[in-house]
Amino acid sequence: MEYVAGIDVGSTQAKGVILDEQGALISKAIIDMETNMGTAAEVVFQHVLASANLPARAIAFTVATGYGRYRVTFGDRQVTEISCHARGALAEFPGTRTVLDIGGQDTKAIRIGDSGEVIDFAMNDKCAAGTGRFLGAASFALEMPLSELGPLALQSTRPVRITTTCTVFAETEIIGHLAKGHLPEDVLMGMHYSIATRCASLVRRVGLTPEVTFSGGVSRNQAMVVLLQEVLGTPLNHSAQAQFMGAIGAALYALDNIHLGRRSEHSLKEGAR
């Protein structure tokens, strides 16, 4: 049995998966980003190997993706996260025609054709407004774990209108609203709404075409799912693997390579040792 790996080195986290030669998910791992992207990639790779109980030489091919893809020294090929997220989303939801991925510093909308090809994509430019960082700022200002933001926001009955989309100024605005006596859940819901409208604009830019699959870490936030569905007017596919879609897509590209008879030079070296 041969295995492939997909490593997604993003701005805030590194994700890794191993698939078997049939494309079944064998193991996955996620770690918070370290200063050194290459080290983070190595660490997540070791985690994913340990979880699968496999030696490095068992990995026949590795594709790296994400901003740090060129820092993955053991990567055999680099593919952008745009292609990888599209591929990963299609693998889990074959009817996907639009992908919305909200990551740590990037939000991307990807339009997919009937043959699974990427037709168009749009990303936030120059500014991290409407990305996971915006929620990170809220988490910091409210001294609350990220995972609790969504559930609390959903309790809101009178969402506050958040005017800034600037991640840097978000904290000031949150504190300002709290100082005026607004409830944290109402401020949070306002923030979620602000992100949702900005992301929906990116989706419309590439042409909203159902099915829409929501990927990336922020897709675990239930309030974002609810709001995006409302703003886009369509249900969203989302799953427990949402954070790993880029890595899964990368591993699927790795699988293509071994089907073409290519093998990793790194694993060959490992094998020789």
Partner: protein, 445 residues
């Protein structure tokens, strides 16, 4: 270093094998000669005009022997020569907003640096400035010179686009009316030039200048068309920018004609030899928008590393000083009337290319057998970027062509994010590859 260096893929100049000067060396010399001459113009008692690349009536100014300074070119050169950040910072310290056109801010920075240009030339103050209605910043920019130097400013009001599908057939009543409007202004300009220089206007001299322009236009049209060959002999957004720099600076001169002939012959030879700018040309792309002069070489590298070349760009039409590829020639038997007629049509075409370029781009996609379009939005020029979303949608939905939108700036390096741009370019080529593979599979079915 000069403006020529942005297009160079060699660090040193070279001579052709037979000892004759090559176009690159000739162009570099012309740019240096122009700048040097500009720097000493006032010492020689020559008058200096500040003009823009679009709608500048340069033919009349040449007839009065003005030395021409192009503040847009000064600013883009400060980007190429890496001085733009200092100039921009000076303008912002002075109070200009980061959102103001970075060309304007670099020019203000130059003024605040005692007019010492990074080329080493002491830029002369203008004796006359011509602004036109072809860019909404031009007039306000000229007001800065008016206030700072006391420069007489002449604003040419050239009727541009009235609406998206606006077309003025040459010789139509509308064209004649527009031309009369412009001709009246040119006559005013002539009177102003006579007043400033103390010279009498010479109609024969204008006709002579126009003869040179006609020849340059004829050659330029050919040069643009040479890139319809596969592989493209030059990259319109690197080599092409340097050609255009010489074109603008030496428009309407025998030196300009000579340079164009040399360039024409060189590119024709490359075509005959089947020599491409990119060794392995895989994708042909149209570039829409203004360059990021501060990082243009890097941007082109990103595309060329994937075998991508830009055989054409709308920039090479609208920013080529009225030398539009549509082939507008002067009737030198009636030089002034003809200048007015061509100026109005060139303006309408220029503006058309700028703001309603979708039809032109669709035509370029066909003419240059292109695989897609790359749009470059300018952070400090919302005017240029405004039409791009519509345009992109048109090209994608009506023509099914892949497009890429990237954003940086003319010369402000703060808006260049290498990782972001590289990511988008890489993803775009993955998309192009997927598309090509898919077409190949469908072809085999």
């Amino acid at each position: 270093m000069s403006v020529m260096d942005i297009g160079s893929n060699r660090s040193t100049t070279r001579q052709q094998k037979d000892g004759a000067m090559d176009a690159r060396t000739a162009g570099q010399r012309l740019i240096n000669q122009w700048l040097a001459s500009l720097g000493t113009a006032h010492e020689r008692g020559q008058h200096v005009a500040y003009i823009f690349v679009m709608g500048n009536a340069i033919e009349i100014l040449r007839a009065f022997d003005f030395e021409m300074a192009f503040p847009e070119i000064n600013s883009l050169q400060s980007g190429v020569r890496k001085s733009a950040p200092d100039f921009i910072a000076k303008a912002e310290d002075f109070g200009f907003s980061p959102d103001v056109c970075s060309y304007v801010k670099a020019d203000v920075g130059l003024m605040l640096s005692n007019m010492m240009h990074p080329s080493g030339i002491q830029m002369p103050e203008p004796d006359l400035a011509i602004a036109s209605s072809l860019c909404n910043v031009y007039i306000k920019w000229a007001e800065i010179w008016e206030r700072r130097f006391g420069t007489p400013v002449f604003v040419l009001d050239i009727p541009g686009k009235r609406f998206a599908t606006w077309k003025v057939p040459p010789g139509s009543p509308q064209h004649k009316a527009d031309a009369r409007w412009v001709e009246g202004q040119l006559r005013d300009l002539i009177a102003r030039c006579e007043q400033i220089t103390g010279k009498t206007f010479d109609l024969d001299r204008l006709a002579e200048v126009e003869t040179y322009v006609n020849e340059m236009v004829r050659l330029w049209i050919d040069i643009l068309a040479f890139n319809q060959h596969r592989p493209a002999p030059y990259n319109s957004m690197l080599d092409g920018l340097t050609y255009m720099g010489v074109l603008n600076a030496w428009r309407g001169t025998p030196e300009g004609v000579e340079y164009m002939r040399l360039l024409h012959a060189e590119i024709a030879d490359k075509v005959a030899r089947g020599e491409g700018r990119v060794a392995n040309e895989r994708f042909r792309l149209i570039f829409s928008g203004t360059p990021c002069y501060v990082n243009m070489r890097r941007l082109i590298e990103l595309f060329e590393s994937h075998g991508g070349v830009f055989p054409a760009s709308d920039y090479l039409t609208y920013a080529a000083g009225g030398l539009d590829s549509a082939g507008l020639f002067y009737d030198t038997s009636r030089p002034l009337e003809s200048l007015a007629e061509v100026t109005t049509l060139a303006a309408q075409m220029g503006l058309s290319n700028h703001f309603f370029s979708h039809h032109t781009l669709a035509q370029q996609l066909r003419d240059y057998s292109a695989d897609g379009i790359v749009y470059h939005g300018i952070k400090s020029c919302r005017t240029v970027a405004t039409s791009m979303a519509d345009n992109r949608e048109y090209v994608t939905t009506r023509h099914g062509m892949p497009t890429l939108y990237i954003e940086s700036d003319l010369i402000d390096p703060r808006y260049w994010s290498d990782a972001q741009i590289k990511n988008r370019v890489d993803a775009f080529f993955e998309l192009l590859e997927q598309r090509r593979n898919l077409a190949g599979m469908k072809g085999r079915e």
